[in-house]
Amino acid sequence: MSEGENIMSAVTTSFPGTAAEWRLPSRGKVAMAGLIIAESAIFTIFVVAYLFYLGKSITGPTPQEVLETPIFYTVCLLSSSLTIHLAAKFLARGIGFAFLGFWLLTIALGGLFLYGTALEWHRLIYEHGLTISTNLFGTTYYSLVGLHAFHVTAGLVMLVIVAVFGLTGRVGIKQSGRIEVLSMYWHFVDAVWIVVFTVVYILGR
């Protein structure tokens, strides 16, 4: 090989046997998977703290006394996973109208869930006097549920940004890959709620 070829690029030689097709995973999906792993570890620590401190509060109120199972709002959040999945599917097929409809429905369901959390917290604070500093139950409950609600809020902000772009006609089939990545995050937030729901409202009472 001559010096001249070396100047442009050192290794352009293709050897026999090199696969002609070179496919790599999508970096957006890999990165979101990485973020989900990291977030799962954070939630795990908070869940462990919640379980570890169950029944260790020195004063009341206890979960048995004050918690009510939020079935309706849980159904809202879980079904929003279905609607965002459908929205992404419709976008991938280029049906913008259906995408937008299901996307806005997802936002509505997510918003409804947050409203449910707000109602529950209002009831706990004003009727039962339970705050984050009342006892260990208050500390761990508000931290765990609050951390999840924070993730729902962050997800909603991103969903609303996409909705604004969608309503102004800027989301098309080209953005389908990015919408997939965002919907991965939303599915994760829903999956975390299943764990939090089980721990707080079923095992914890």
Binding site: T18, L24, A31, A38
Partner: protein
């Protein structure tokens, strides 16, 4: 096929106004510049953390010394530990990963260049936040300034009652912020390695450095996040009146220990795996042989990553866990020795029968092999629970983990600096200054950390402000202190070498070491675009294939 220096037209450095140049560096998203920024910030904090270490050593030089007050002494060991782990070791290793991974896999940049810039500034500003505590830490209470509760901040020391003022807040926030930076970088490294490889660069052909950094990044995702979670809990305790670690309200101090060490022990491996990565690139080149047992090296690394996630409570043998927990953590801790031993054998196997070139980079790697072995052996000693009960919180432990971090990680890092500095700057580091650096540092290191084991065995506790004469600790501590100053001189020689060689060093050319990985195929320093055309590789040593078309590696893989 020659490997002569080739100048690429149009890459000469044009002189720009320095404000312009500075602006370019501050706003850069180029992985090579960010890598260098990581290294420079780490070197700055290395000097600061080193000065803190010297202050600790002067204070302990002889009995009844009062060089600094007890309060300042507490701040010094807290800041020394926090600085060295979070703002020296992590950033410098991320810097090398940033600089080298895209070049080694034939990519244009990291997967997410702007996330990369964001992550760097998060970790750097986290460091500044930690040091701002010296100015802002006293707050309204006039109590304390820099964090002084040890780098673990064991509960309840980190609580409002025992740490009034804002010093612990700065500590918490600095670690939280830089932790988010680390998570961003880890996600970036994973996405880069998995999604940006050049054609032909299958996972089984990746340089070991890319492989090991992939594993390291995966560990960061799982191990740094528990620390972030624990810091959020500490903030809730300190600011919102929570009770996570408030023992008076039923909270548990032991839970903090668990959360801290679930981070803390894998962290050691997060730091040592990139050091293994340097070893796995440098030793083959200076032994003139391909790495021995490539697949086993990858498997051993993944194995270390898994096992190291289940060893954390060996830091907590003395808190009184039950015997099942003690046995479990003793066994897992000893088990980590197996894949680590495999690695050491493979490096020796690489050197065996090779034509070894004793360049400075190689000298540091050989130093690493010996010292890391001893560090591992004292680690296994302390995995035995009764032995740990006897020696926990003594200077034996301090000697052990400095043996890992200085004798292992720092030696490998110095090797990496000597090996890749020519690529980064286009100039060779001086070999003669390098030999001074190596031998001075080696002598200083062994004077300090070999001797430090003995006062530990004699019962000298760590974090002690001063001690009574006549316990047989005085002479030993004096030797340790002298050794630490010899190390400081060696570091000065190293910094001088970095600066002098930048201006006066010999021209490096593309490939000064006759190496085999892709970064050596382009000019030194590499152009902003890295590769003029996308490279295609067919084996683990693409440059060998290029230089030896008559006998390419691809024929055997």
């Amino acid at each position: 096929m020659s490997s002569n220096a080739i100048t690429i037209p149009g890459t000469q450095i044009q002189t720009r106004p320095w404000v312009d140049e500075l602006h370019q560096w501050v706003t850069t998203v180029d992985h090579k510049r960010l890598g260098i920024l990581y290294m420079l910030s780490a070197l700055m904090f290395l000097v600061i953390g080193g000065v803190e270490a010297l202050i600790i050593r002067i204070q302990l030089m002889h009995s009844h010394n009062d060089f600094v007050s007890p309060e300042v002494f507490n701040r010094m060991f807290t800041m020394h530990g926090t600085t060295m782990i979070f703002f020296v070791a992590m950033p410098v290793l991320f810097g090398f990963a940033n600089y080298l991974v895209p070049l080694m896999i034939g990519a244009r940049d990291m997967a997410f260049p702007r996330l990369n810039g964001f992550s760097f500034w998060l970790s750097f500003l986290g460091g500044l936040l930690l040091y701002f505590s010296f100015l802002g830490g006293s707050g309204l209470y006039g109590a304390g300034n820099a964090p002084d509760v040890g780098w673990w901040a064991y509960a309840p020391l980190g609580s409002r009652a025992f740490s009034p003022g804002h010093s612990s807040d700065y500590w918490t926030l600095a670690l939280l912020v830089s932790g988010f930076g680390s998570i961003g970088t880890a996600i970036n490294i994973i996405a880069t390695v998995l999604c940006m490889r050049c054609p032909g660069m299958k996972l089984s052909r990746m340089p070991l450095l890319a492989w090991l950094n992939l594993v390291m990044a995966g560990m960061v995702l799982i191990a740094i996040t528990p620390l972030s979670a624990a810091q959020i809990m500490l903030l809730i305790d300190r600011y919102l009146g929570g009770h996570f670690f408030d023992t008076q309200a039923g909270g548990s101090a032991v839970l903090w220990m668990h959360f801290f060490w679930i981070f803390g022990h894998p962290e050691v491996y997060i730091l040592i795996i990139p050091a293994f990565a340097f070893m796995s690139e440098i030793i083959p080149v200076f032994s003139r042989k391909p790495i021995f047992g490539y697949p086993v090296m990858v498997a051993a690394t993944v194995c270390i990553a898994f096992v190291s996630m289940s060893v954390w409570a060996h830091h907590m043998f003395s808190i009184g866990m039950n015997s099942y927990a003690n046995s479990f953590f003793a066994i897992t801790t000893m088990a980590v020795g197996i894949p680590t031993g495999i690695k050491i054998f493979n490096w020796i196997g690489t050197m065996w029968g090779g034509r070894i070139q004793f360049k400075v980079a190689m000298l540091f790697c050989i130093g690493f092999l010996f010292q890391f072995l001893i560090a591992g052996l004292t680690g296994i000693m302390q995995a035995a629970v009764p032995f740990a009960w006897q020696l926990t919180l003594s200077y034996f432990v301090v000697a052990h983990f400095h043996y890992v971090i200085v004798g292992g990680i720092l030696f490998a890092l110095f090797g990496a600096f000597y090996y890749w500095y020519p690529k980064m700057t286009g100039r060779m580091l001086s070999e003669s200054l390098g030999k001074w650096h190596f031998w001075l540092f080696l002598i200083g290191f062994h004077m300090t950390f070999d001797v430090m084991h003995i006062p530990g065995l004699l019962g000298m506790p760590r974090r002690i402000y001063t001690y009574e004469p006549g316990r047989g600790w005085d002479t030993l501590n004096l030797i340790v202190t002298i050794g630490s100053f010899i190390q400081a001189i060696a570091i000065l020689v190293f910094v001088a070498n970095l600066i002098i060689s930048y201006f006066k060093g010999a021209e490096a050319g593309n490939d000064p070491w006759d190496a085999w990985t892709l970064e050596w195929s382009i000019s030194s320093p590499p152009p902003a675009y890295n590769f003029a055309t996308v490279p295609t590789v067919a084996s683990r040593r693409p440059l060998w294939d290029l230089k030896h078309p008559e006998d390419p590696d691809s024929r055997y893989e």
